[in-house]
Symmetry: C2
Subunit: 168 residues, 2 copies
């Protein structure tokens, strides 16, 4: 067996999104138990000029749907960024997981050297497929998933590292 | 070209550690500019029952040195967890980068299916090499690097996502 681009991406993304979904479920239950308006969590930030929880989930899902679509050479689905409740964030994660699970390994494998060009703010940046995955998509996914976790943890939600890493 | 275990690990780890080093340099400069005792940053936490910045850096470096050593079948170097200053955290990162850079691709490649067993708290957990990297080591590295970033960002350090992802 050797490593494949599919293995590095689709199941890895799905795993993290499922773990993020479980973390958000714990947060929703925690809000209910502590009689906290759930929108307080959904709008919570670690700094006034950082994005709130809802946007962390939106960016995490955007990154991985964009990656799968770009590597496979299919159109990137556009999701309106309108989520304001835990239910809506869960729906966005579920929609992204369903999109990812629609890819067959053959669509992703062999994209190691495919040139991937994306706009980062004002500039266009090009990567080889493997560099795009390892230097951009994976760190970006974990950055936003961890920030979502950290926002909740900072606000007293009883999540731990094993929720982030998921069950073996 | 196909994906290799080396590519998924050593250069990816080195890149993140170098970005983390740059983030810590910005934090140290920020502390000096705002006349904040640097130890306030080194000991800062996002929640009272979360680890401080220093421990985030220790765990991030532990994870990747352990991974490289386990995949290559060499002894894991033990670092005492005694860092209390930015200079000591930088030294730990530099020592880890030097250790990682000592591996040749041939030592890491082919470890996709090698059984990796580690103790997680009270239990022993076994992974195939590739699952260990994708489901444990990479998420864990980015979790602790992002938490370090988030601790600093929450405390007003002027870092941004591009510091985390690093230059193209």
């Amino acid at each position: 067996m050797s490593l494949s681009m599919y293995q590095a991406t689709i199941p890895t993304f799905v795993r993290m999104l499922n773990n993020l979904s479980a973390i958000l479920k714990k947060a929703e239950a925690n809000a209910a138990a502590r009689t906290i308006d759930p929108s307080v969590f959904v709008g919570a930030r670690l700094a006034t000029d950082m994005f709130p929880l809802s946007r962390q989930v939106q960016i995490a899902t955007d990154g991985v749907k964009g990656c799968a679509a770009r590597l496979a050479g299919v159109e990137i689905p556009s999701y309106p960024d309108t989520e304001t409740t835990f239910a809506e964030l869960q729906a966005r994660i579920a929609k992204t997981v369903a999109f990812l699970e629609g890819f067959k390994a053959a669509q992703i494998d062999g994209s190691e050297d495919r040139t991937i060009t994306l706009k980062l703010g004002p500039q266009e940046v090009s990567f080889a497929g493997a560099d795009y995955v390892f230097n951009f998509v994976l760190p970006n996914l974990y950055f936003h998933a961890t920030t979502a976790y950290a926002i909740l943890r900072h606000n007293g939600v009883d999540v731990g590292k094993m929720d982030f890493l998921g069950a073996r």
